[in-house]
Symmetry: C2
DNA sequence: TTTGTTGCAAAACGTTTGCAGCCTC
DNA sequence: GAGGCTGCAAACGTTTTGCAACAAA
């Protein structure tokens, strides 16, 4: 269950690992191993942080040009094999992010819309220890909504627990 | 911090509580208290489970007709004051859900796309105990991706930890 | 009375689709 | 060689926008 955590010293291997994993997935699902798909996977795992379709399109352009349709198609594949995660923050366009060896969570300020990341190993333990009716968790993501330090200070905004 | 948990016996009060909370929010943000907004809030808190714009539009029609534009506008407001949560499961249309006294999480099968809910009080404890750099968490939601019991059994599908 | 909010319809935007040609298998 | 995959452009559906009328403050 759950993606492995790779030690920093082995970080260079990650691209190779995900590539192999993707290959196995494609074989199992009888899908073709096209150079476009590998180029996209490689680009995603070379990029730290969130990206959207346009950003990925621009990033790839120089290296290995693919159409938007192929990007959408491949991102769907990578999502289905749990190598990327899809986020919909606020009203921005859909964001994606590599997810192998990259589990972390997001704090989203409902006032200024800022997004901050945080990690927590304890959540992992909880998920791994819960039975969940036979569901095999491979990947997960938590979104916490509220007020960032700055907005919390700026406003004496009400919260559902006001006066408690 | 965090939405209160209301005992079952007090469940009838919830609509009243969220209405008051919404009123305070509108006053604080100098927005008008229109009947449309309250009618929408009431309808949402009368509904158990997920809904999308069209479903809400149809649900409201009989009771208090509002335009789609107003639904979008009001859902945005309710999201900003943490009374609803927005989900983007797979390729379905955007789903919403009341979030006051309704914190739970989602198991999403990447194979059959089924969605199952689960609750966990331990996650709440972790979030409440972490400092998070001054971020005030009001609401949160966890999405776990993987294989549901049925799909896990059906396939000897590879996972990132295959052979481990 | 002022100005934010609503409803309507049109516009905009991200994503999906159909099809011809290409390239894995 | 067959059929899946790609690129392109058109189509689609959801969300946003502009504007006039309305109503909360």
């Amino acid at each position: 269950m759950l993606h492995k955590t790779i030690e920093p010293s082995k970080k260079d291997d990650i691209k190779e690992i995900v590539k192999q994993y993707f290959t196995e997935y494609l074989i199992q699902h009888e899908q073709r191993k096209t150079p476009e798909r590998y180029a996209i996977l490689d680009k995603i795992y070379s990029w730290k942080g969130h990206f959207d379709i346009d950003m990925l399109y621009d990033l790839m352009k120089d290296d290995y040009r693919v159409s938007r349709a192929t990007l959408y198609n491949t991102l769907e594949l990578l999502k289905d094999c749990n190598l990327i995660i899809k986020h919909q923050f606020g009203s921005e366009s859909t964001q994606y992010e590599k997810s192998y060896n990259n589990i972390h969570h997001h704090l989203i300020c409902t006032k200024c819309k800022s997004i901050k990341e945080f990690g927590d190993e304890n959540i992992k333990k909880i998920i791994q220890s819960k039975p969940l009716g036979g569901f095999k968790v491979i990947n997960y993501s938590l979104y916490a909504y509220g007020l960032c330090a700055k907005c919390a200070k700026a406003s004496n905004s009400i919260t559902p627990n006001k006066g408690k």
